[in-house]
């Protein structure tokens, strides 16, 4: 059994401070299990979010030694460090310890109409819409976003402008634009081409670097940017 120091940046609503905990670590033990070890044995007041512990609910992203990652799918020993600096995600307001406020993040997501738009389907009479495996593949990878906030935390554009829609949101917009069943591309281009939209991206591509689902949000942002440019030009001449 090895011992690893969890150095956690804490916030109790008033003060921010660092606190060290000694965590006994077995092979295979995850960062999330380490956090639960602290909460259940050393300090019940430590606050963090977690749910599925299998990398699909998006609750538990934190920064470890500066880099965002999902606590649940990170094995402590793979980090190869005796001491881990653990902090909440960046670019979002800290509510308590490792918990940041996601309300704004989800409001931005809503703003780009992240749902299928068609005017020929009816609630009482749904019909099967055909889509070939090839058409599915066009957008499928971009459906895998778990909204964990890792990309947003790392995004230099989000750090300079709080209202920037951010990589996850623009990826959601692209996901629907690229879906062969969708007819709402223009509405979404309108939503992402404002001053808080695609133009703010710095092409740092750090979002793709840290995405735990390997979705490449940077690629989606670039594609939306290209479409948005075309859309703006057309709009001028309309």
């Amino acid at each position: 059994m090895e011992e690893v120091i969890f150095n956690i940046r804490r916030f109790n609503g008033i003060n921010s401070y660092w606190q060290r905990f000694k965590v006994p670590v077995k092979r295979g033990m995850t960062l999330l299990e380490g956090l639960y070890y602290i909460k259940e044995n050393l300090d019940g007041s430590l606050a963090f979010r977690a749910s599925c512990r299998m990398g699909i609910c998006g609750s538990c992203a934190v920064r470890v030694n500066g880099k965002p990652m999902l606590a649940c799918e990170t094995q402590i020993l793979n980090l190869k460090a005796k001491k881990l600096d653990i902090e909440p995600l960046d670019n979002m307001r800290v509510l308590k310890d490792l918990i940041v406020d996601f309300d704004d993040f989800f409001k931005k997501h809503e703003a780009v109409k992240p749902y299928l738009i068609r005017d020929d389907v009816f609630y009482s009479k749904p019909v099967e819409l055909l889509q070939t495996p090839k058409e599915l593949k066009e957008y499928y990878n971009f459906t895998l976003c778990i909204k964990c906030g890792s990309c947003y935390s790392m995004c230099p554009a989000a750090s300079t402008r709080g209202d920037y829609l951010g990589p996850a949101t623009i990826t959601a917009a692209y996901r629907f634009c690229a879906d062969s069943r969708d007819k709402g591309k223009n509405e979404r281009l309108e939503a992402v081409s404002g001053t808080n939209g695609v133009w703010r991206c710095h092409f740092a591509a750090e979002c793709s670097e840290v995405c735990p689902k390997k979705i490449e949000p940077a690629k989606a942002v670039q594609k939306m940017r290209k479409s948005a440019a075309g859309y703006m030009i057309k709009k001028i001449f309309r």
Partner: protein, 569 residues
């Protein structure tokens, strides 16, 4: 002064059933106001963990039928399902699949562009619709995204419901803690729907998310609403060792094998026809038997069984089971393309739940339940794989429609200031303010151990009696817990301590229901009563709250067309 809000319909829980209910209510009438309350953000719910798929009869022209789906479900349930409910359920399902398609769900497709279907345990036709092996995830995201278009759905994310208000058999609303601030909010409502999920975290080795702590079950039970058939807990055959993460039944649906330490496909001894695709209770028992008889594979985490996908090939695994591959690699360093996955039966699903009829009505007027927290019952003593996400969709819709209709023709009933203040006092003064020398998390760990030792796959009267005694002791100790964090804002210590209290109450219901049922049926298997006993036990258990522990009652099972027969696979 406790804050109060009013909504015509209040839905608690924003997983598949809750989201579906919200949309159904909003579609029923744009005039009613709908509150969707959840203790997480909706897309963080446990439904996202559903992997393998959702059952629906889509292709009658290719040989499937409603009768076949209903029969598979009834037989899988070991005849404890209500057959009128099952018949309704299978007929409503296809529409749900198409609605999700129309709302953007990325269903896996056949070459011709139609929605694809795969084989699943206990189903006699390939009727499981899927989106790779992330079906629940895609369904939840699709419903959440769709819910955004309705202006009359008002979300209360990260609000933790603490109580129900009922007067003269009629619902009045709920109370909830706004986690961000720690304020108590009173929700007055004409109708309330619980869609709060199961009880899986009673067990330590479980596929469930950390958040699935039986909250809704316990709140309803304490308020006098009976819980039905809680002794039936499903053990899924393939939980990843040691974490318990679900290795979908789709692994076997796509052709995977189970092997013991001699490399034998032992299912040929237990279910020669269906082999690995027998229903979950049958496969889980077979695996446990192999382990008990020393044919498991030894490891530092105890004996396990091997899930073998190596013959499927990388291409198929990547296309059909990408999440399984990702999880096996990330969590145990095993690549299923080349290596065997270590698995063991794992607590997975709560067949029982809040007693409802086929319209999702509970005995309390204006109070509905849907999804895993409810027991209609369509799953009886053992649920078939891919019928749970299906249940959430169909009965989520029914609950939403019923609640909306009820709300349209009724008035609010006032939750009085004294009631609100009493709840505030109960939580923040009496519970948070108490001092004691017990650590709540020790109690949770011990409860997990008790459930795994005394109420696992093979049960006996003596073991269960001992287990009930231990649960009662834990309940006593719980009265003496101390919550370390005394602050209001985002107090997860308070939250989790309350959850542990919910789990203790529900564990007692599971335990006493199981001890009292002297037969073996579906997932409830007793070594001292190894046979099904239709003469005495073809009936549903109802558990009513009393301060001394649950009081049991029984009601008949509805049989329409299928008389119970011996169950062979």
């Amino acid at each position: 002064m406790v804050e109060k809000v009013k909504h015509d319909v209040v839905i608690v829980g924003a997983g598949l059933a809750g989201l579906r209910a919200a949309i159904a209510a909003a579609e029923k009438s744009r005039k009613i106001s709908i509150a969707l309350i959840a203790k997480t953000y909706p897309i963080r719910c446990h439904s996202t963990c559903a992997e393998g798929g959702t059952a629906a009869v889509l292709r009658p022209e290719e040989g499937d039928s409603f009768d076949l789906h209903a029969w598979d479900t009834v037989k899988g349930a070991d005849f404890l399902a209500d057959q009128d409910a099952v018949e309704f359920f299978v007929r409503e399902m296809p529409k749900e699949i198409l609605l999700l398609d129309n709302w953007g769900c990325p269903w896996s497709r056949r070459e011709d562009g139609k929605i694809a279907q795969r084989a699943f345990g206990g189903h006699s036709f390939n009727r499981t619709v899927f989106a790779a092996d992330r079906t629940g995830f895609h369904e939840v995201h699709t419903l959440y995204e769709r819910s955004l278009i309705y202006p009359n759905i008002v979300r209360y994310d990260e609000h933790f419901v603490t109580n129900l208000f009922i007067e003269n058999g009629r619902i009045k609303g709920v109370s909830a803690i706004r986690l961000k601030t720690g304020d108590l909010i009173i929700f007055e409502a004409k109708a309330v729907i619980f869609a709060t999920g199961g009880a899986g975290r009673l067990y330590g080795f479980t596929t469930y998310s950390h958040q699935v702590t039986a909250d809704g079950l316990a709140i309803a039970y304490r308020a006098g609403v009976p819980l039905k058939d809680m002794e039936f807990i499903q053990f899924h055959p393939t939980g990843l060792v040691p974490s318990g993460i679900l290795m979908s039944e789709a692994c076997r649906g796509e052709g995977g094998y189970l092997r013991n330490k001699y490399g034998e496909r032992f299912m040929e001894k237990y279910a020669p026809q269906k082999m690995e695709l027998a229903p979950r209770d049958v496969v889980a028992r077979a695996m446990w038997q192999e382990i008990l008889e020393g044919r498991g594979i030894e490891s530092e985490h105890g004996p396990y069984i091997a899930l073998d996908l190596t013959h499927l090939g990388e291409e198929k695994i990547e296309e059909r089971l990408p999440l399984i591959r990702e999880a096996a690699k990330k969590f145990v360093g095993v690549d299923p393309v080349e290596e065997l996955i270590p698995v063991r039966p794992v607590a997975h699903y709560t067949m029982g739940g809040i007693h409802t009829n086929v319209k999702c009505e509970t005995p309390v007027k204006g109070f509905y339940a849907a999804g895993e927290c409810a027991c209609v019952s369509v799953h009886g003593a053992n649920r078939l794989g891919s019928n749970s996400t299906a249940e959430c969709l169909v009965f989520g819709r029914v609950a939403g429609e019923q609640a909306a209709e009820f709300a349209l023709k009724t008035d609010f009933k006032e939750i009085k200031k004294e009631e609100a203040e009493a709840e505030e006092k109960r939580i923040f003064d009496e519970f948070l303010g108490r001092s004691g020398d017990e650590n709540p998390y020790d109690i949770k760990r011990e409860l997990n151990k008790v459930m795994e030792k005394h109420f696992w796959i093979f049960r006996t009267g003596d073991e269960m009696k001992e287990g009930i005694k231990k649960i009662k002791q834990l309940k006593e100790r719980y009265k003496n817990i101390e919550i370390v964090d005394k602050r209001r804002g985002f107090n997860t210590d308070l939250l989790q301590s309350m959850e542990i209290g919910f789990m203790l109450d529900v564990a007692e219901v599971v335990a006493i229901g199981a001890y009292t049922r002297t037969e073996s049926r579906g997932a409830h298997y007793r070594l001292d009563y190894p046979n099904r006993d239709d003469k005495n036990w073809l009936k549903h258990t109802l558990a009513y709250y009393t301060p001394e522990g649950p009081k049991l009652d029984y009601i008949p099972v509805t049989i329409t067309r299928w008389e119970p027969v011996e169950r062979k696979y």
